[in-house]
């Protein structure tokens, strides 16, 4: 009897803190955000009780629809560029020996740890009209007038790609490294051209990495408002900017909450699709 009690006590002590924290700090705020999205905005920010669908109707405003569309196009483009940049890199690194692999992947890990905001700021310095990149291209005579590389869509793209590229590289590398090269050799022996075996064997085998990397780039790219704030032009570029503006500047919380709900839905649908395609949630933690 006493032993049973002690065992229960141990169980209680181990699962209560984490369960409570997750329910109170994750489940509760998200439920509350959904609730807010059906309420009226207060005069000075905050919310007033009541049930309305006005906030969702407001979202149909072309202004917001355009931004949502633009954000999704932007995220798709960023994801594609990251995939195209990362795939050859991971493929080449995977063919190196263990020591070189370790060193090169440590180089990627280090960039994760250096302050995001400082790296971003240095890109702005490099890319602006009088910055080093434009200076270089003018000096070698490729261009006459400085390119508008920052404070434009292009700038926002560069910023997002730079920030999110490591998130593509890590899962991709993990799955490319696991390829069993004997299969490729077999294909070669059976007469497959390198290109054929790449399309028919390598890509299908590395699908888990491609999917996991794409999800890990696409989803955050919709919310990284500070990157587009700093490097994008005057136009609102991603959904994250819209949400931040509603909560901080315009102080229309219910509208911002409705936008957040839409962003949550997009995330949820993407993850469902990812799971249906056979993706594992654990691959998304970056480890």
């Amino acid at each position: 009897m006493k032993k049973k009690f002690k065992s229960n006590l141990a169980k209680f002590a181990m699962i209560t803190p984490i369960s409570l924290w997750m329910y109170i700090m994750v489940a509760l705020p998200f439920l509350y955000i959904i609730l807010i999205s059906f309420m009226h905005p207060g005069t000075y920010g905050g919310v007033e009780l009541g049930v309305t669908l006005d906030n969702y109707k407001e979202l149909l405003n072309p202004l917001y629809l355009v931004t949502f569309g633009r954000s999704i196009v932007m995220s798709t483009a960023v994801t594609c560029v990251c995939l195209l940049l990362a795939y050859p890199f991971c493929y080449f690194v995977a063919k190196k020996n263990d020591i070189q692999k370790k060193i090169l992947m440590s180089c990627i890990m280090i960039t994760f740890c250096v302050s995001m905001i400082i790296r971003l700021f240095m890109w702005i310095n490099l890319l602006r009209s009088e910055g080093a990149v434009n200076h270089f291209f003018i000096n070698i005579g490729w261009i006459q007038v400085p390119l508008k590389l920052v404070y434009s869509n292009m700038g926002a793209m560069i910023g997002l790609i730079y920030m999110l590229l490591p998130f593509m590289i890590l899962p991709l590398f993990n799955s490319i490294e696991k390829i069993d090269y004997t299969i490729l050799e077999a294909a070669c022996d059976l007469g497959a051209k390198p290109f054929q075996s790449f399309i028919n064997i390598t890509i299908p085998l590395t699908k888990p990495g491609i999917f996991a990397g794409s999800v890990m780039v696409f989803i955050p790219s919709m919310g990284l408002y500070f990157v587009t704030d700093l490097m994008g032009g005057s136009k609102t570029l991603v959904i994250g900017n819209l949400i931040k503006n509603q909560f901080i500047t315009a102080r229309n919380w219910p509208l911002g909450a409705a936008m957040s709900v839409i962003l949550m839905l997009i995330t949820y649908l993407l993850l469902k699709a990812y799971q249906m395609a056979g993706g594992s949630m654990d691959d998304l933690s970056g480890m």
């Binding site: 699962i15 803190p17 997750m22 060193i103 302050s115 490591p166 955050p220 957040s260 995330t267």
Partner: protein
């Protein structure tokens, strides 16, 4: 002969691509270090070499205050999330209970959801609860997104865990607490450490959650720099960032060096 030459060129091109991509990732980091030695206060051209920013950044009071806040938040939230996350991961692995599936699902939410959604959700909740926005709320926010990473890295260690060791300890008269401290914890320690390091680096660098959970007078270093970027960052920030970067690079290199040794020993 021609084939061999072709192979060599392909190899060189591959190495060139690897170098270019690493360069792309490292250019801004190199620039920070370079400009931390710049005599000019503008971060545009390099005018001359100086060490004065390294001598003066700690005299910049607002900068130091934000650094202090950042460190307090990082240490506190790492400690709390490691304790809750480690105990929780072991508990979730061992016991079945009502609502366990829900907790498991909730653990993935902070990892996958765009940070801004968690940020505004926490902001709304804290406002509803009428909490004072400051270091306290920021720590609450940081712990929330750190716990899942601790749980995942501890869980990875638990996967290869021999349950009979715990049973043996219990049979030999150890109580639950003694078994946990003397048997379970040492075995999962590497997972706990990597979870702690991950939490620490996430917390030190966080912008979005900090932004929504902060209040007057509780700026962190990343928020401070974000604020400065619009008006121009002082070279003192470059100096401070360079120091932090060096510490990080040394830590990671030590870790990688230790693993390299293992690889080398393994190949012999």
């Amino acid at each position: 002969m021609i084939k061999q030459k072709k192979k060599k060129t392909v190899g060189a091109l591959r190495n060139l691509y690897i170098m270019l991509l690493i360069l792309f990732l490292y250019v801004p980091i190199a620039m920070v270090v370079l400009f931390s030695f710049n005599t000019s206060e503008m971060n545009i051209v390099f005018e001359g070499f100086t060490l004065k920013w390294y001598g003066s950044f700690y005299e910049n009071r607002t900068l130091m205050e934000s650094l202090e806040n950042t460190l307090i938040i990082a240490v506190a939230s790492t400690f709390i999330s490691v304790v809750i996350g480690t105990i929780g991961a072991v508990g979730l692995g061992k016991y079945d209970f009502f609502g366990k599936k829900m907790v498991d699902a909730l653990l993935y939410v902070p990892i996958v959801i765009p940070e801004i959604v968690l940020g505004v959700a926490l902001l709304s909740l804290f406002t509803l609860m009428d909490l004072y926005m400051g270091l306290g709320t920021m720590i609450l926010g940081h712990v929330t997104f750190c716990i899942p990473f601790v749980v995942i890295s501890v869980r990875a260690r638990l996967a290869g865990f021999d349950k009979s060791l715990e049973e043996a300890s219990m049979d030999l008269g150890g109580n639950h607490l003694a078994t946990f401290c003397n048997v379970t914890l040492p075995l999962i320690m590497p997972g706990v450490v990597s979870g702690a390091m991950l939490s620490m680096s996430l917390s030190l660098d966080d912008i979005v959650i900090s932004f929504f959970c902060s209040g007057p007078g509780s700026t962190t270093l990343p928020l401070k720099i974000l604020d400065m970027v619009k008006h121009g960052v002082s070279p003192e920030v470059n100096a401070l960032s360079s120091i932090i970067t060096f510490i990080i690079i040394i830590c990671i290199s030590l870790d990688a060096g230790a693993q390299l040794k293992k690889v080398k020993l393994g190949t012999i």
